[in-house]
Symmetry: C2
Subunit: 189 residues, 2 copies
Amino acid sequence: MTSTPLPTTRPTRVDAARNYDLLVAAGREAFAEHGTDASLEEIARRAGVGIGTLYRRFPNRTALLEAVYVDEIQSVCNRAYGFADQLGPYEALAAWLRSFVDYSVSKKSLAGELTVALGKDSEFFTACKTNVREAGELLLNAAKAEGSVRPELQLMDILRLVGGITMGRDMSPEQADRLLEIVLAGLKA
Amino acid sequence: MTSTPLPTTRPTRVDAARNYDLLVAAGREAFAEHGTDASLEEIARRAGVGIGTLYRRFPNRTALLEAVYVDEIQSVCNRAYGFADQLGPYEALAAWLRSFVDYSVSKKSLAGELTVALGKDSEFFTACKTNVREAGELLLNAAKAEGSVRPELQLMDILRLVGGITMGRDMSPEQADRLLEIVLAGLKA
DNA sequence: TTACTATACGGAGGCCACCTCCGCTTTTTC
DNA sequence: GAAAAAGCGGAGGTGGCCTCCGTATAGTAA
């Protein structure tokens, strides 16, 4: 579980740190309620700080999203190691992808952002990608070694495909599961 | 090729009809350049009409998108019948999905909208869905009958999965093809 | 042609979000 | 406790969304 630390920018001055936390909390709520288009001014209001404070700390929407999602992303990675310990190679991979989809459907915005993000190159997303890649490749390589999935598969392809599942609106958990089963069938050797 | 006619609202008065065409053309350009978030005021400017004219004809963004995409959607449907005539069942299905992905990657906004739209229920999207479904199910059922794909597959599942492929940013045609191959492998009986 | 009516035009204006800038306040440091 | 460093917050400029309504024009009938 050697994850490279995700760069966070929590400030040190006590008032700034408090506001940082308030903003991240308000952002988490707002993004959950209204998706990633939530109004930043509304988030500042909700946090009880001025809009200027928000923008000083988070120069753009993405910066705030990063701060909001850093925990979730870490937990996605960590789950991979848990499954690797408890299940056979293929089952661990399938379980990880399944947990990713389930989680993403419930918190719909994350997967979308994350999937979009897999093509970005900010410092944060690079670190994030490194971690996810490390975790995912552990599972994928184990499954390849076992011979249960095709050896030419690339992790990023699988993740983008799985991420795409949750991008559509009104995706029911049942439908998401059916789509994932198609993908899983497509991985098999 | 019994497509239900997609409802269009091109007006009859000559000045209104001219402006309608100008707006749709400007909309097509702007959506291609800036995605579906393109500014409607910019579109009105580009068309050389007042913003009021745009809004009278197209009460919201979706209405304009519908008018812009009605042709593209029809051509997606029509291609299905072409492939059905020229290729074996499985190959026709695969070719249709491939053409859908290729097209969507180049004109990226459409697929996104269309995929999102597959969960909507405006009159337009219902008609659109009917047409796509009719065309797609012809191909899918033929492939099922041939025994080349799994019988429990649902067309809408496949379309959402394929639509999801093109939602991420910076998707290269090569990567899109690889993702589609995974999906196609997942369809096989 | 003319006169009348239905239809359409277009932009001003209200609202709101984005984002920047900078005078004021608070914390930290010495 | 005073100076320096760091942070605060909201006014204000820009621009997009959408509505409303006074003005202009096409269609029509005489």
